[in-house]
């Protein structure tokens, strides 16, 4: 009896031992799975972070470089504009001084001729600046004009001065049709052409 009892007691304890061992084995397997899965998820997350960082880095670099390139283009363009405007200013100064040159009457006749080509009328009224009215030999201008046109034009020199540094203001008798060929108007009208020519010659473009 005692022997049977001992056997039974041993069996009970052995069964408990086995069951317990299995429990620990299962727990260990689950633990390893938990750790491995968590590690994989974390690695994937980490890779995503780094990949996004690389994309952002390229964008940052591009943005910084692009901003600087834009700034550089503007700086160069501003300098070119400054240089061009300097030249145009100097040229304008020379043009203003041209009114005292011997060649001025020839230039005036050419400017009048250009205006006459635009205004088709019987008689023309020509206005000069205050100083040109006193200085210019209008007879000489008319002679030169006849050479340029190949004919005589009916011109009336206005007593009313025109506010300008030089050149002419031409209109029909009524003053309704006009052609402003003063230096100022010409500079404005020819601005685009002037800028193009100056840029081309100055920068060799």
């Amino acid at each position: 009896m005692a022997e049977a009892l001992d056997k039974l007691r041993s069996q009970i304890l052995r069964d408990a031992e086995l069951k317990g061992s299995d429990m620990v084995k299962e727990a260990t397997a689950e633990a390893n799975k938990i750790v491995a899965e968590a590690e994989n998820r974390a690695k994937t997350e980490a890779e995503q972070i780094i990949l996004r960082a690389k994309t952002d880095a390229e964008a940052i670099k591009r943005r910084v470089i692009s901003a600087e390139q834009q700034k550089a283009r503007w700086t160069i363009l501003e300098e070119k504009n400054r240089l061009v405007n300097d030249v145009i200013e100097e040229a304008s100064n020379e043009v203003r001084k041209y009114v005292t040159s011997k060649d001025y009457t020839r230039v005036l006749s050419k400017l009048i001729a250009e205006a006459l080509e635009s205004i088709k009328t019987e008689k023309y009224v020509v206005k000069l600046s205050e100083s040109d009215r006193k200085r210019v030999d209008t007879g000489q201008v008319e002679t030169q004009l006849e050479k340029v046109l190949g004919r005589k034009a009916r011109i009336q020199w206005s007593d009313e001065p025109y506010k300008c540094s030089g050149g002419v203001f031409v209109s029909d008798e009524d003053g309704k049709i006009r052609f402003d060929n003063t230096f100022e108007a010409r500079s404005q009208r020819l601005e685009r052409d002037l800028l193009h020519k100056v840029s081309k010659t100055l920068f060799g473009e």
């Binding site: 009896m1 009892l5 039974l8 007691r9 009970i12 304890l13 408990a16 031992e17 069951k19 317990g20 429990m23 620990v24 727990a27 260990t28 689950e30 633990a31 390893n32 938990i34 750790v35 968590a38 590690e39 998820r41 974390a42 690695k43 980490a46 972070i49 780094i50 996004r52 960082a53 690389k54 952002d56 880095a57 940052i60 670099k61 910084v64 470089i65 600087e68 700034k71 550089a72 700086t75 160069i76 300098e79 240089l83 030249v87 145009i88 040229a91 020379e94 043009v95 041209y98 230039v107 050419k110 400017l111 060929n181 010409r186 052409d193 002037l194 020519k197 100056v198 010659t201 920068f203």
Partner: protein, 105 residues
């Protein structure tokens, strides 16, 4: 040994077995809990490392951008110097052309 004594001993043994199993259960739970703690710690370490790498990448990009910008700036300065030099030699002729344009020559 009496029957009663025998039953008493079996009950004791079963109680012992039950306590043994309880201990195994507790140990198993501890193994799983520790695994969760370890995986959290591993995740935290990996993500912190990734953040450090990310910041290093971004800092380098900024530095590279600044360096490249400096080169662009220097290049623009050189271009302007060249422009000014060229302009000096072409200026006189350009003024003549501009004047002629305004005068209608």
């Amino acid at each position: 040994m009496s029957g009663l004594e025998a039953v008493k001993r079996i009950v004791e043994t079963e109680e012992q077995a039950r306590r043994m199993l309880e201990e195994y259960k507790r140990k198993s739970q501890e193994i799983v809990s520790q695994a969760r703690l370890d995986s959290d710690s591993t995740r935290k370490k990996l993500l912190e490392e990734a953040e450090r790498t990310k910041n290093a990448i971004l800092d380098k990009a900024q530095e590279d951008g600044v360096r490249a910008s400096e080169e662009i700036r220097k290049s623009a300065e050189e271009t302007i110097k060249r422009l000014r030099k060229n302009v000096e030699s072409n200026k006189k002729q350009t003024i003549i052309i501009a004047r002629a344009t305004i005068l209608g020559e």
